[in-house]
Symmetry: D2
Subunit: 340 residues, 4 copies
């Protein structure tokens, strides 16, 4: 069975696993004060080319979103997100669980438009009943988005400008950050550090067993963020678990190298499917490809390849998600080519 | 100055105030166990023609919505509402403050459509990732809606049917219930008791100084609802304050009589405006009328009459809200006629 | 039946009710922007002899505590209170409902000791695991306490000093503030304004139907406190309800005058009981008197006078609470004298 | 440097790490539906000798406590714990963060007494203001306690009896469950399944990198517990991470074997210290030993051995915590012997 179902159905990248294995016998400090967490943070700062970047390691995406959002907002503040955003739909209400409303704006292929955001904020500040509303305090976007699309540097700059004009924090969910960076010709970690307030570098979907590295870009981590992490149940006693993994991912450029491989595989996958006449639901430059497949074909195809049912396209066709990862091989795609 | 700005810029209806005044010297039990609260509850049960109705008295609308929703939902459950719903926008995130997501569906002139609700729930139960979503547990609608419109009996029945099909609680916000009942030819309190799980009878906007009477329709009040009210800071030490007021409002049919007066005034207002060539943003049968007025005209009109700026209609016109209440007089409308 | 059961089983003081009655027909602005709320706030500022005092009117005690505490704390901060404090026990978890821990220190006749507070904070700041603990952000005390006792000016000053030394906000629950001010020879509103960060002046138990006036003492109201009030369901649409009442209470020194009357009655009650040989559970200078009464005597006494069972003293005696208020009369006490 | 600082400053037990390493290349289902999680759950059920046991795998202790407590309580319910309990102090308010009060009873060497619990509940149900209090819904205890002590089977049975008498859920925090089971002559997993409602088997401190296995003992997992886990940010995308580890820990009796080793080491440590004349703060039969050491001696000792400063004993002595784990060796203790 060829697996193109997700980018988290495998174990860790071999280099990551080996680093875990090799360091396993050492004694370290706990709660993230270990040497490996320190090294990982320094390497991430270096990759960000910023000494003002503050790095914290958490475990998973929903946890990271809920903790960062709650940590940076006042109790009465809300976060603005695309209606397709992960925090809007797929987090079981984790943001609301800490008391914050998610204000959903219409997404465009998964992306929030700067102009929509500006319109919303202008409406808000001019609305006579604005003090009766949840106060917008943050904008949440994903890079890449949940639909595999990417913001251009200009689109991100424009959104950040709106945020700055209206005093909003810009938070970028980077659960698949590596794949976004590898697919973008413009956006890099140093660039991101200058164009948002906080983002995270996803590990779970890019070669780690678990782990997301939050980067506050300008010494703007909330006071007592360690305690905030603990309060959210997000503090690992053995912080080395994420420390060692990010130490490996940010050694020898591993994180970007394996991300680029996944993008190469995705582009080859796209070509294969295009060549076979498949249509795409969305034009994605990243490792998630959304393909329109006749319902009958879905069933026969599934005997050979695993992918995700995204939802119905129309009564006769389904939107199917194919995902590559650092672990996808040419052999996988060769096999796919045969069964298409 | 003619006042058509809101239905809560006056004091209490004279009969309500007089009852407060007359009973002021009596000693009563506290926390809602007083004689007047008891009488009010019995009178409301009687108006509902239901012995299974359980009545609780709270203070204000947002408080009541937050308390009822939190009281009836499990922690992981969400409430579905129209995107124009009061809980969706105008409650400063009070529902989210107790951890519950508001799932917003597109409203149609302020109303939720049963078919949209059914579509959403069918999507939900068939979605493979549904366990990763906030679980819908309740539907919230307003009668009348925030835009002054009314559900027909058939529309309400259809929504309740969807709720029952999918195990959802139906909650009706009746902040302006009196005006809805007075304007509807179909919906009555006894009818409502058979077509939803919980609703409230708004006092604040229909003649009281404060107070909303929650009615659980079939002995389905959450266990420990008294404690839930207390936990929400919604328990009055002098429960008599709301008890006495509802006792007055539900004596001699006062609540419906004054509501009908407001509707009569609203219909006369509508005629006046129509006769003068004004257009309406929405066709409202209740006490809130949304009128499209050229921006320049707004300014001159405001010298004589108070109304609310609802928002821009287009670059040259504004949507203005005119509201009648139990206190609106023919003299008010005569004066308005002159300045139109 | 003589009523000494509570200070909130009556209606409003006649002057308060009359002001409500007299102003009932006027049209006012809503949500607390009315003339009477403005007047009340100015009169309270004047009584506080402080232009830096910011006043907000809420409805009830638990609501006020939960709103002020949540409004002034960061999400990860806790409030320190005596283990007999109202927020510790009698608010159904309303403080925790907005996510904040109540750290309970041993009370001494209802009072928190400055030295205990200092010991706790010194332990806290020196504890190596302090970042794993809820961070103390506020101290909550009651004046008078839940047991009727009063802090001396020195005790309050000492507590405030500890708060300032450790960066804690000092919040004083004044549900019975009037009775405290009337009983104290040292503490006044102007004095309080210089010795805490925020307090409230209770109306519900001192002559109003409902209402508590929060005073931030040095222009330190949290940003967007109006929205915070709304989010807590604590915003009255007809804000005049509390505005008119506090306008009356702070006219002609009414608030203090009626409080003093209650204290006079309480002292006479205390003398009566002492003369009859009753012992007291606690030596209270305020309007709540805690009397130790043999269980059998309780039953016979209850035929003539209403009071509260506070709890068992030992197997043969009960602690009973007798409460005077602005409404207690000499006739009440004369009657009591006969039945004792 | 000899390390007796904690039981989580090392990596995983070699068998656990090897299982992670060996299975790393396999593709599995995500979110805990993988083969290894299934195997782990079955092995735990078998170790519990109960088909009615429902097992869920989470990541860390605070997270597990917050998720289980929130999942099993209604919004208005509180959890009762010893004042030394982990949830009472060392979780940064994580329980309160989801709205639940922790009611603290005096602990006795870390343990809750059944008689204290019964007294509290009898007071509660007889208190006339009980509906104004947070409603007790659960009892939380730790096995072993935070002070290393153990409940006897009789003590646990008595507590469970009180819980059943008053309708309370009994939850046992087993962050160090293995060490408790190894030290107890009475309590086993099958026994626990019959004497509480839910407990967890700690992995992080007993050989795993992370992971706690929650066991609902009688098919009593809350409805939608998967969604509750997700809402708490506690769901791992690569659920295999905990699955593989518990699969290893519950193969060949590894979990108990390594726990017993730690207890053997702890008893040898205790003998060594006793022989050298050290006094103990508490008599602990488990892997945490609390030793009273003169302040001066602490400084010299720390040059050779790492331990934790628990807090001051008196002005001249400190309470120091020495912890053994599965990784402690005879060589460690031989070295310690020399430096004592």
């Amino acid at each position: 069975m060829i697996s193109l179902e997700s980018d988290y159905n495998n174990g860790a990248h071999p280099m990551v696993m080996e680093h875990l294995f090799r360091t396993n016998d050492e004694l370290t400090l706990t709660y993230g004060f270990d040497k490996y967490s320190d090294d990982a943070k320094q390497k991430i700062q270096k990759a960000c080319e910023s000494e003002d970047a503050q790095v914290f390691l958490l475990t998973g995406g929903t946890q990271t979103n809920a903790t960062v959002i709650d940590g940076m907002l006042q109790s009465y503040e809300a976060v603005i997100a695309a209606n397709t955003g992960h925090v809007s739909i797929h987090e079981a209400g984790a943001v609301e669980a800490s008391g914050h409303k998610v204000i959903e704006l219409e997404g465009h292929e998964g992306k929030l438009k700067a102009s929509d955001l500006r319109d919303y904020m202008e409406w808000f500040v001019n609305d006579e009943s604005r003090d009766h509303l949840a106060q917008p305090g943050m904008v949440y976007i994903s890079f890449p988005t949940e639909l595999g699309t990417l913001y251009s540097a200009e689109e991100l700059s424009d959104i950040y400008q709106v945020c700055q004009d209206f005093g909003l924090t810009l938070f970028i969910d980077g659960a698949r950050m590596g794949y976004g960076l590898a697919a973008s010709t413009e956006v890099t970690l140093p660039w991101l550090c200058k164009h948002c307030d906080v983002f995270y570098i996803g590990g779970t979907k890019v070669g780690a067993l678990c782990g997301e590295a939050v980067v506050f870009t300008h010494q703007n981590a909330p006071k007592h963020f360690f305690t905030i992490i603990k309060r959210h149940g997000a503090l690992l006693a053995k912080g080395r678990l994420t420390g060692v993994q990010f130490d490996a991912l940010f050694s020898d450029n591993l994180y970007l190298r394996i991300s680029r491989h996944a993008i190469d595989m995705a582009m080859r996958l796209k070509s294969l499917l295009t060549a076979k006449g498949y249509r795409f639901y969305i034009d994605s430059p990243t490792n998630q490809q959304f393909v329109i497949i006749p319902n009958k074909r879905v069933k026969t195809l599934e005997k050979h390849v695993a992918f995700t049912h995204w939802g119905p396209y129309d009564s006769e066709n389904m939107i199917c998600r194919f995902v590559t990862s650092w672990a996808t091989t040419d052999a996988d795609l060769d096999a796919l080519k045969k069964v298409l």
